[in-house]
């Protein structure tokens, strides 16, 4: 896994590669460097006594990986899983893997550095909790998620 990470080019000459996925009507982005793989929904083993947004653990080729429902994490209602539901497996610098359940995966786009702007510095905006920055695109404004904050409290 570690080798894969180093081989990944996150910053191309033009900017950052970002994977976009949708939760309901909203489109969010995650930097490619965090993403290990994308798999379909799998059987999730429930782990008792943990917060609701952590759905449990899955077996990815012999590794036990916890999965988080992004809908629950954002305080939204969960919808039944369908064939478009995906688990994006993130890998962090310390080698920890975490899966996040999203409604559907959209596309990978190279975002120019100039198109990325900071989030407003406000404590009242809830979005700040998980949002790293805002991406201005021709098709509209999209939110880039902060993976570390998404996973940890």
């Amino acid at each position: 896994m570690a080798e894969n990470n180093t081989a990944k080019t996150t910053y191309t000459a033009d900017g950052t590669e970002v994977l976009f996925f949708s939760i309901g009507e909203t489109i969010y982005g995650i930097e490619i460097k965090y993403i290990n793989e994308i798999i379909g929904i799998e059987q999730i083993t429930v782990v008792p006594k943990i917060p609701e947004h952590i759905k449990g653990v899955i077996n990815i080729r012999g590794k036990v990986v916890p999965v988080i429902s992004v809908r629950k994490r954002f305080g939204m209602e969960e919808i039944p899983y369908d064939d478009r539901t995906c688990i994006i497996v993130l890998e962090f610098e310390d080698g920890n893997q975490v899966g996040i359940i999203v409604d559907r995966v959209q596309e990978v786009i190279v975002v120019k550095q100039g198109d990325i702007s900071k989030t407003p510095d406000s404590k009242s905006v809830n979005a700040n909790r998980y949002i790293k920055s805002i991406i201005n695109m021709e098709s509209g404004i999209r939110l880039l998620l902060d993976c570390d904050k998404l996973i940890m409290d």
Binding site: T45, V47, P48, K49, I50, I54, V57, K63, P66, M152
Partner: protein, 792 residues
């Protein structure tokens, strides 16, 4: 490379500590120990210099020098304490430095202070006649030497070393004697009975073969040594003392010193290393010539250097400093001073002769062999052992055992263990594959059984590779006790019991900190401050701390016991009340609960914060660390008699024999070693207490019932007690009944720790030890029975 250095040096320093500790207890240095310290320091010096760590190298050198004086002069050491403190401090400094090296930004620490102290002490050891600086003693020897030589016998003394493993050293020595007999007018050698006594071979291997001779007319010392050197299998011939003839001859020479340098085997690029030697000594020499001369351009010369050594001629008014420099150069194994080169060599590289007063020349010449003798012994020390040991077969077998050991990177072992774990799972996947269901496969079953057997053997072997005795962790404590003994002024014996008990390597690494905290705690709080208190309590004035370890039902139990004042439960309770950590009325606490309170965060009965303990973090950290490796820690104490800390840790973290049970869609694994029995409940066994809490009566005993689905808020397959299955579990003397839907079967599972994300939510506290992957790819959660029971 750096890893290797860190590993080696750390273990050498630990070894050093152990030797010091041992000798301090016996309050005397044996010759063997001095040699061992000397050797250790020499190795550290060499490898540090190679890594470019000059400060480390110099500090090691200072200690080496000091022990040189102790070894050679046998001074009466009046202040043993100071000596130990000096060496212990130096060892600490070096350890700290090694820690620093491993950090990203490393700035060498300045050890000058410590070095000055050591040098000053060394000078004291040298005696009143000795001058103050470290360099001076050598000069002293040099100055005294000419007189000694002129008055000594005309015999020249040489030490001959034979090639390693050349066998029958005594006969080879005899050959040397036969060859030189004709050129000598007088000849003595030791051991003398080489011809008749085969055992002398050992002596020769250990100590070298000593020859004393006077050259016959028409021959000279160098011709004789040349004959010795050219005798088959002779590795090295070292001149210990020149006969009187030599001194006369030397005086007529210039003050050119010739040295033959040998490099370590397999150090590669000998020619460049030789160049390094030349560059290093240039600064302290007036002139330097060397052969082979074209080392800089001709790589082939490295072969010549390997075979014949590297010959350097230099003139300097401080020959011993030059020799020191040579010795300090990385990869230099040994060197010998040849004085004036053999005729052939002299022709190859004409020596530049400087006109110098005869007196100075004599000083330089005679100083050289003396210094050489001193220095050359350091590398040779590896081979040289004290005489008692020569016949000590134990020592020999020890050397043999060492060679059958290899050190392996722990990561590789981890990977191996993971792989074995995968194989265990895969085996289950294959042999209990759903596709095989209902088929009659006799041959397949037979092969599968064989596979299972081999797999379990493989697993046992891998586990045994990872097992390490606890003695290493225990030995580290001697040092702590020693330091605290001095600081706190308490006299304490540290006793080990069962230190050969083995535990998985990954667990041992986690044990050091907790053990250290507990031993410190026993030293600081446990043992009474006043000896009078001990005597008044009818105890021996000398305190006792016992570290013991033993195996008990798949667990290792480690006890840190002291015979100190014990814990006063009332004081603990009062303090807990003050700190507001009581959760129920004070009167309801049992003594055991009270003792275990000292391991709560922010608790310390000691009123004063000392250097070692009292901040109330220690015991809390102990508990956390032990729990991290799946163990438990408890306290037992008798007020006035002492305190025991009891640590229970699993033998291994990785593979567990488990019983799978299902609860709704979830599968849990209960470790077999905590299961007593499983059964179906009959209506007459169910008892309810006043709160409606259920209990099961088994053979006249009542046990609390834990419904797993209730405990974990799961949807059960059945909530009917009489339909499901009840498992009676026991751990640490406590029992409980666990209710689940059904038993699935027994299987070995590989424990996979929960990801740190889940650990943040304290899953361990809720009785989940980890998870594992079953044969069909589904995940099972391994229950930690002790945590489940403790909640009830």
């Amino acid at each position: 490379m750096a890893d290797m250095y860190v590993f080696e040096t750390t273990s050498l320093l630990e070894q050093l500590d152990q030797i010091l500790m041992k000798t301090e207890n016996e309050s005397s240095f044996g010759e063997e120990e001095i040699n061992e310290i000397f050797r250790t320091m020499h190795t550290i010096k060499g490898s540090s210099a190679m890594m470019g760590l000059d400060n480390m190298s110099k500090l090691a050198h200072a200690i080496e020098d000091m022990f040189y004086i102790i070894r050679e002069d046998h001074p009466v050491i009046s202040s043993m304490g100071t000596l130990y403190d000096l060496v212990f401090n130096a060892s600490d400094l070096m350890k700290a430095e090694i820690e620093l090296i491993q950090e990203d930004e490393y700035n060498p620490t300045d050890f000058t202070d410590q070095m000055n102290k050591i040098e000053a002490f060394a000078a004291v050891l040298k005696g009143g006649a000795a001058p103050e600086s470290a360099e001076a003693p050598a000069q002293q020897v040099a100055a005294a030497a000419p007189a000694a030589v002129s008055s000594s016998s005309p015999l020249t003394s040489v030490k001959v070393w034979f090639e390693d493993e050349c066998k029958m050293e005594n006969l080879r020595a005899l050959l040397v004697i036969n060859r030189i007999t004709d050129s000598c007018s007088q000849l003595e050698y030791f051991p003398a009975d080489i011809e008749t006594n085969g055992d002398t071979a050992k002596v020769i291997i250990e100590n070298g073969f000593d020859i004393k001779f006077a050259p016959a007319d028409g021959s000279n010392i160098d011709a004789v040594t040349e004959i010795i050197k050219t005798t088959p299998n002779v590795k090295n011939c070292q001149i210990i003392e020149r006969g009187s003839g030599a001194a006369v001859k030397a005086a007529s020479d210039g003050n050119v010193t010739t040295v033959r340098v040998h490099f370590e085997d397999d150090c590669k690029m000998e020619n460049l290393r030789a160049l390094l030697v030349v560059n290093n000594i240039k600064e302290v020499c007036d002139s330097v010539t060397y052969e082979p001369a074209d080392i800089e351009d001709n790589a082939e010369t490295s072969k010549v250097i390997i075979e014949e050594g590297f010959v350097v001629h230099f003139t300097s008014d401080k020959p011993q400093m030059v020799l020191q420099t040579i010795e300090g150069t990385p990869c230099v194994k040994a060197y010998e001073v040849i004085e004036d080169a053999a005729p052939a060599e002299a022709q190859a590289a004409p020596v530049q002769q400087t006109a110098a007063p005869a007196q100075a020349a004599a000083t330089a010449q005679t100083a050289a062999p003396k210094a050489a003798e001193k220095k050359a012994e350091a590398p040779a020390a590896d081979a040289q052992k004290s005489k008692e040991q020569i016949n000590n077969m134990l020592g020999a077998s020890k050397g043999g055992a060492k060679q059958s050991l290899i050190s392996v990177n722990l990561n590789k072992l981890d990977t191996l263990l993971d792989l074995v774990g995968e194989i265990v799972i895969t085996e289950a996947m294959v042999t209990s594959n759903p596709d095989l269901k209902g088929l009659r496969l006799d041959n397949f079953q037979k092969a599968a059984r064989q596979l299972r057997k081999l797999n379990s053997e493989l697993q046992d072997t891998v586990m045994s590779i990872r097992m390490v005795p606890l003695s290493g962790a225990f030995n580290k404590m001697t040092r702590i006790v020693r330091d605290m003994k001095v600081k706190l002024g308490k006299d304490v014996d540290l006793i080990f019991e069962g230190e050969e008990t083995e535990v998985d390597k990954s667990i041992i690494d986690q044990l050091n900190d907790p053990l250290m905290h507990m031993v410190r705690n026993s030293m600081d709080h446990g043992i009474e401050d006043n000896v009078e208190d001990r005597i008044a309590a009818g105890k021996s004035p000398k305190g006792k701390i016992t570290l013991s370890a033993y195996n008990a039902s798949g667990e290792v139990i480690i006890v840190v016991a002291d015979d100190g004042a014990g814990i006063n439960p009332e004081k603990v309770l009062a303090k807990a009340e003050r700190n507001g950590i009581l959760t129920k009325p004070a009167s309801e606490y049992s003594e055991k609960e009270i003792f275990n309170m000292i391991m709560l965060p922010g608790f310390s009965t000691n009123e004063q914060v000392t250097e070692y303990s009292g901040r109330g973090v220690g015991m809390d950290v102990v508990r956390k660390n032990i729990e991290k490796i799946g163990g438990t820690v408890s306290v037992d104490s008798k007020f006035g008699q002492g305190t025991n800390f009891i640590i229970k840790i699993p033998l291994s973290l990785s593979i567990v024999d488990g019983m799978e049970v299902s609860v709704g869609e979830s599968i849990f694994t209960i470790p077999i070693n905590s299961i007593r029995e499983s059964f179906k409940v009959k209506p007459n066994q169910l008892v309810k207490d006043t709160n409606g809490k259920e209990m099961i009566m088994i053979r006249g005993e009542c046990f609390p019932l834990i419904r797993l689905y209730e405990l974990y808020d799961l949807k059960p397959g059945t909530d009917n007690l009489y339909e499901g299955i009840v498992i009676l579990v026991e751990t640490e003397g406590k029992c409980a009944c666990i209710f689940a839907d059904e038993l699935i079967g027994e299987q070995q599972v590989v424990v996979k720790p929960f990801s740190s994300l889940l650990n943040n939510y304290n899953v361990k506290q809720h009785g989940m030890a980890g998870c594992s992957i079953l044969g069909d790819g589904s995940i099972t959660i391994i229950l930690d029975v002790s945590n489940i029971i403790s909640d009830f």
